[in-house]
Point group: C2
Chain length 338, copies 2
């Protein structure tokens, strides 16, 4: 369904910027290749190219509040992280609310405060907004949209097509917490202690990697479909094989137990503060060291390696040493996880 929709819009709106299908669009000012809109004249001085990233996401997570976060902070982190995945420094966010009649003012205020705090923590400003109210029964409490703008200051090509044979595959932390936290609340599952979402901003970490001159080939946040989806999509785009080692992939004990109980693969579960980085092999150790300095990526690990240019394939070596294909998640994924 998700893929079908993407195709509808990809086909209807096709243009060179959209067609790159990044987490964020990359815009150059003054814009090139635009027709019928005239030249962009800067106010004084000679024009120099400025590279911006732009990304949008709506948030329809249910419930609005969950262990480790809420729809408000999630809407800030998610959009900030999408910008970070192109190596952009997030700067400005718009924020639009679709409110179902009857939502408690107190709830709205809690969400707004959570957004404010998260934005502050991320160093971004909410610069414009919109509110719409829909009749009772025509919404679900609250839907949010945040659209973000960041500035790209680095000169690297960070995109799936730039993944190279031999690249190290780093994951930035333990996997599966966001998805399992939502599922636990929604299904009323009880664990010894609540699984907390990993919802968190990762932009600072990425900017640190860039600052240190780490050669980054590709970044991808591990949201819908988890690590398995990200690896398969990137293998496909780059035309490479990727091999990862299960015992090197950090998964918390509780998530592991919960997934086992429910028959889920933690590598298929969504995260909201985790990403995978494809790093030039020679820089992998240094990158890992930088990642581990930040609390949000303290458990970063080098989990695998890009193989040859070939038919795309992702394999995983299991704990007992056997290698198998790591597929895209099949069947229904947990809906409304973000």
């Amino acid at each position: 369904m998700h893929q079908l929709l993407e195709n509808v819009f990809g086909q209807a709106f096709s243009n060179p910027i959209l067609d790159t299908r990044h987490d964020s669009a990359q815009l150059t000012f003054p814009p090139t290749g635009m027709t019928g809109t005239g030249d962009v004249k800067h106010t004084g001085g000679t024009p120099v190219p400025l590279r911006l990233a732009m990304t949008t996401d709506s948030y329809v997570v249910r419930p609005l509040f969950f262990p480790g976060g809420d729809i408000g902070s999630l809407a800030i982190h998610g959009t900030v992280n999408d910008l970070a995945m192109s190596g952009a420094r997030p700067l400005y966010l718009s924020c639009a609310f679709i409110i179902e009649e009857g939502l408690l003012m107190e709830t709205l205020w809690r969400v707004a405060c959570s957004m404010r705090d998260a934005a502050r923590k991320c160093g971004v400003q909410i610069v414009t907004g919109d509110t719409k109210v829909v009749d009772k029964g025509k919404g679900d409490g609250l839907f949010l949209n945040t659209t973000g703008i960041g500035v790209i200051e680095h000169g690297q090509q960070i995109l799936p097509q730039n993944v190279q044979p031999g690249d190290a595959v780093l994951v930035s932390g333990d996997l599966g917490r966001h998805g399992m936290a939502i599922m636990a609340v929604r299904e009323g599952l009880q664990f010894e202690s609540a699984i907390e979402s990993d919802s968190a901003p990762v932009a600072e970490v990425v900017l640190d990697l860039l600052q240190a001159g780490i050669e980054i080939h590709c970044l991808r946040d591990l949201t819908r479909g988890g690590l398995a989806s990200a690896l398969n999509e990137i293998a496909e785009a780059a035309g490479v094989t990727i091999a990862v080692d299960e015992k090197l992939i950090p998964v918390g004990e509780q998530v592991h137990a919960a997934c086992e109980m429910l028959g889920l693969d933690p590598l298929h579960v969504a995260n909201e503060g985790r990403f995978v980085a494809f790093i030039a092999a020679k820089a992998a150790e240094h990158a890992l060291e930088i990642l581990r300095r930040h609390p949000v990526s303290a458990n970063a690990a080098n989990v695998g390696r890009v193989g040859d240019k070939s038919a795309p394939l992702v394999t995983i070596k299991s704990a007992i040493g056997a290698s198998r294909i790591l597929d895209m998640p099949s069947g229904e994924q947990l809906p409304r996880i973000c």
Copy 2:
């Protein structure tokens, strides 16, 4: 309710850019006054200031299709027009869909095509997007969000605070068609011929005014609350009186008749392709001439004048010559009109 919400977010998110409360945020690159995010370094060359406008709107209009437009074209026009109201040249749009389970694929495709066509007509590109699906009964077919970026190439201060005594008050066309078109469909009202929404982009018109060097003091699109709201808000912000002449304000015959029948004031009804312009008196005739060259503003008219700096007050001279106060719309406005 709307005002209450604005206050909640204004209070929670307060920052110098948001606090200007324009239709769009004005962003300067490299950004000034940001703390904790470091300097923005342009890729090559010396930094020159680039001024961008950013605006966001969600669209929850009911029904999705109406005479003269649909939610798709409306979502393009509305956001393009918000950018135009700061004199920006619209360039890039993001587009996010919240789809209720069960929406016909055919409906979605019609909306997407309508967006594509409208974007093309406006000279903007849809560069990034998002789709979310919510369960049946938790949405209402389709909600859209578009967020737009434009570039500000002029050096004028276009904002309510810049409105001056003596300014001419121009409206760009006949009023009330969007609101009455929606109401007619929704309430099953029959007129001799269907009232068509005025939904249309006005950016080209505004850019033409700027190109001609017209001294524009303020622009405001006449959406929710119509001309009456816009004039009252601007009188309040500028601390001036505004006097308009009812017989000079263009209102179509059908809208006039429908409003009379329903006991509505066409000056309170929403438009989606109309704006009011406060123009230096000496440039009013020239501005009007430019407006009238464009089909979308062929019926533009000079409808009044800004009075003294004083307690804010909007008055209207009725057809029979008596002057009365033109209030903000009181009571419930038509919900989900955009």
